[in-house]
Subunit: 236 residues, 4 copies
DNA sequence: TATGAATGAGGCTTCATTCAT
DNA sequence: AATGAATGAAGCCTCATTCAT
C-alpha cells in the first residue's frame, strides 16, 4: 500500500511539474510575443526562453498555433470571469457594474489585451485550430446570453436605450478594443501624456454610452443624420 | 511637330497604362489580403491575380512590404480628406460634422478599414519602411493639429467636455477602430442581424461622446468609480 | 547615281554610328565592371551608363556574356600587339625587348588587367561562348609559336636557360598576373607605398628571370631542393 | 558518476559528429567549387552533395558567403603555418627556406590555391563578412611582420637586394599566384607537358629572385629601361 | 530602329516540425 | 522523458532576356 501511495505521489508530482512547465512556456511565449511582435517569435526562442528543448514544447502543444490559441483562451477566460462578477453586481442593483468590470479587466494590461486582439485576428479562419477557436466562441456565446438577459432588464427599467441588446455590449467591446489600440498607436501615443487618464476617460464613456437620454436630448438634431447613409457592406 | 506630339502622346499613354497596372496590382493585392488574410498572401499570388509576372510587381514596388505600406497610406489619405471636409463644416458651425465625416469614412468599407488596421500594426517598427510610416505619422500629426484647434474651440463654446483635447479625438478613433473589429468578429458577428444598424448606433455614440453634460449628469455616481484604479502600464 | 551615292553615304554613316555606339557600350561596361565588381554590374546598368536602352545592347551583343568576352578579346589583342612589337625587337638583337614590352603592356593599366583576369576565369568553361574563347586561345597559340621560336634562339645563343621554352614565357605571364593581383590586394596594398616602384621591380625580375647563370650560380645549392617534391596534382 | 560520464561521453560524441559534418560540408563545397566554378555552386547543391538538408548547412554557416570565407581562412591558416616554419629555418641560417616552404605550400594543391584566389577577390569588399576578412588581413599582417624582420636581416647580410622589404615577399606572392593561374590556364595548360616541372622552375625563380647580384650584373643594361615608364595608376 | 516594361527561372534563407538518441 | 540536430517546404527577390510598340 505504501508502495502504491508512493507511486501515486510521484505521479501526482510529475503531473504538477508538467503543468508548471506548461505554464512557464505560455508565460515566456507571452513575454516574447509582447516584446518582439508576433512575427518575430519562433518556437526555438520560446523554448530557449522557457529553458526547455524545442521537443519539450511539442510535448505540451501539438503545434505553434496551439500555443497562441491557448494564450487567447486563457485571456478570454480571465475576461469572462471578471465580466461575470460584474454582471452579478449589476443584477444586484448596480447598473454600471458590468461595464466597469469589463473595462477594468480589459484595460488593466493593455499590452496583453492588444496581443490577444492581434492573435485572435490571425487565428480566426485557421482550420488547424478551429476546435479551440470554437471554444472561444462558446465562451463568448455564454457571455452574450448573460449580457443579453441583463441588458434587456436594464432596457425595461429604462436605464439603457431601447436598441437591439447586442448594440450595447458590442459598443463596449469595440470601445475597449479601440482604446487599447489607441494606447499603443505610434502616431497618437506620443501626444497622450496621461495615458491612464485617457483610459479612464474612455472607460467612463463606455460605462455610460447607450444610457437612455444620452444620445438624443443634448445635441443638435442635425448631428444625428445617419452617418452610414451610404454604407456599403464590403463583402469578401 | 506632329512627330513630337506623337511621341508625347505615346509616352503619356505608356505612363497611364503603367499607373493603371500599378492600381490593378494594389487592387488585387487588397482583394487577396482581405480574402485570405495577410499571412497567406504571397507576392506570387498577387502577381498571378493581377495577371502579371512576379518581376512586374517588383517594377512597381521595391519590396512586398512597400505594397502594404502603400495600401495603408492610400487609405489614410482618403480618411484624411474626409476628415478635413468634416472639420471645415464643424468650423462653419455644425459641431458634429467632423465626427460624422470621420465615422462615415471609416465605416463605409469596414473590411478595408480592418485590413489597414492590421497592416499598420505589422508595419509599425519595420525599419525597412520607416520613411513611409513617417509619412503616415505626418498625415496624422497634421490632422491632430487641425482637430486640436477645432476641439479647443468646441470646449470653449461649452459643447465638449473640458478634458485634454486628445481624449476626444482618440475616443473617436478608438470607437471606430473597435467597431470595425466588432463588425468582423466571428463570435459576435453572427448575432448582429442589422450590421448597418450597429454601425449607425456606434457612429452616433462617437458623435456625441464627450459632449458636455453627457457623462456626469445622468448616471448614478457610483458608476464613475475609477475603472482603471489598479491599472498598470504594461511596459514592453 | 547621286542617289546611290547618297544612300551609300547614309549606310556608311549608319554603320559608323553603330560601331561607335558599340564601342561606347564596351567602354561603359568596362568602367562599371572595374568600379563595381563583376557581380554587381547588370545589363540595365550598362545600358543606362551608355545612354541607350537595354534592347539596344542586345542589338549589339547576343548575351551579356558576349560583352564580357569582347572585353577579354579586345584586351588580349592589345597585349598581343605590344608583344609582337617586342618580339620583333628581340629578333632584331635586343634580347630583353619582348619581356619588357609584355610587362609594360600588362602593368600599364593594372585595374583593367585584373578585370580581364577575373573575366577570363569566369568565362572559361562557359559553353555559351566557347567559340569566342577559342578565338582567345587562337591568339595565344600564335603568340606562343612566335615566343617559342624566339626563345629557342635565345637558348641556343646561351642567353636563356635551357629548359622547355614554355617555362620562360609562362613564368613571365605568371609574374605579371600575380603582380597585378598583388597591386590590388587589400592585405598587401596598404603597405606598398611606392606601387609603381614595386611594379618596376617585378618587371625587372620578369625580364631577367630564366636568364642563364641566374639560378644556379649564386645561391647555396641547398636552396634548390625540389620544392614541389610532394606535389600532388589535384585533379578535378 | 557513471551517469555523468555517460552523458559527457554522449555530448562529446555529438560534438565530434557535429564537427565532422561541418568538415564534410566544407569538403564537399570545396569539391563542387573547384569542379563547377564558384558561380555554379548553390547551397542546395552543397547540401545534396554533403548528404544533408539545406537547413543543416545553415546550422553550420550563417550564410552561403560564410562557407566561402571559411574556406579562404582555413587555407590561409595552412599557408601561414608552412610559412612560419620556413621563416624559422631561414632565421636558423638557411636563407632560401622561407621562400621554399611558401612556394611548396602554395603549389602543392594548385586547384585549391586557385579557388581561394578567386574567392578572395569576390569576398573582398563584401560588408557582410568584413569581420572574417579582417581576420584574414590580420593573419597576413602578422606574416608580413615576420617576413619584414627576416628580409631586413637578409638584406643586411647582403643576401637580398636592398629594396623595400615588401618588394621581396610581394614578388614571391605574385609569382606563386600567377603560377597557379598559369597552371590552369586553358590556353597555356595544354602545351605544358611537365606541369610539375614548370612549378618547380617557377619555385626556383621565386626562391632566388631578388637575391643580390641577380638583377643588375648579368644582363645588358638596355634591358633595364624602366618598363613602367608611362605607367598610370588606374584609380577605381 | 530603339526602347524598356514584362517575364519567370532560380538563388538564398527561415523556421515549424520530426525523430533518433 | 527530454532534447536539439536535421529537414525541406515555401517565401522573397534579382536580373538576363524577350518583344510589342
Amino acid at each position: 500500500m505504501s508502495k502504491n501511495d508512493d507511486s501515486m505521489d510521484k505521479i501526482r508530482e510529475k503531473k504538477k511539474r508538467f503543468l508548471a512547465r506548461e505554464e512557464r512556456i505560455i508565460e515566456k511565449a507571452l513575454q516574447l510575443l509582447i516584446r518582439d511582435g508576433i512575427d518575430k517569435v519562433t518556437v526555438s526562442a520560446i523554448a530557449k526562453e522557457a529553458g526547455v528543448g524545442k521537443g519539450t514544447v511539442y510535448k505540451h502543444f501539438l503545434t505553434k498555433t496551439e500555443i497562441l490559441v491557448r494564450i487567447v483562451l486563457d485571456y478570454e477566460r480571465s475576461i469572462t470571469n471578471n465580466l461575470r462578477i460584474g454582471i452579478e453586481k449589476t443584477e444586484a442593483g448596480d447598473p454600471g457594474a458590468a461595464a466597469r468590470s469589463y473595462f477594468h479587466a480589459r484595460l488593466t494590461n493593455p499590452a496583453l489585451d492588444r496581443l490577444v486582439q492581434q492573435l485572435e485576428s490571425r487565428l480566426e479562419g485557421d482550420r488547424e485550430v478551429a476546435d479551440q477557436m470554437e471554444e472561444l466562441h462558446g465562451l463568448r456565446r455564454s457571455n452574450i446570453d448573460a449580457l443579453n438577459s441583463m441588458i434587456v432588464k436594464l432596457i425595461d427599467k429604462g436605464v439603457l436605450e431601447d436598441v437591439p441588446p447586442e448594440y450595447h455590449y458590442l459598443s463596449c467591446w469595440a470601445l475597449a478594443q479601440g482604446a487599447v489600440e489607441a494606447y499603443f498607436n505610434v502616431s497618437y501615443g506620443a501626444d497622450v501624456e496621461d495615458k491612464e487618464g485617457f483610459l479612464r476617460f474612455v472607460a467612463n464613456i463606455g460605462i455610460t454610452m447607450g444610457n437612455k437620454g444620452q444620445l438624443l436630448d443634448n445635441i443638435p438634431s442635425q448631428c444625428l443624420i445617419n452617418v452610414t447613409e451610404s454604407l456599403e457592406t464590403s463583402e469578401s
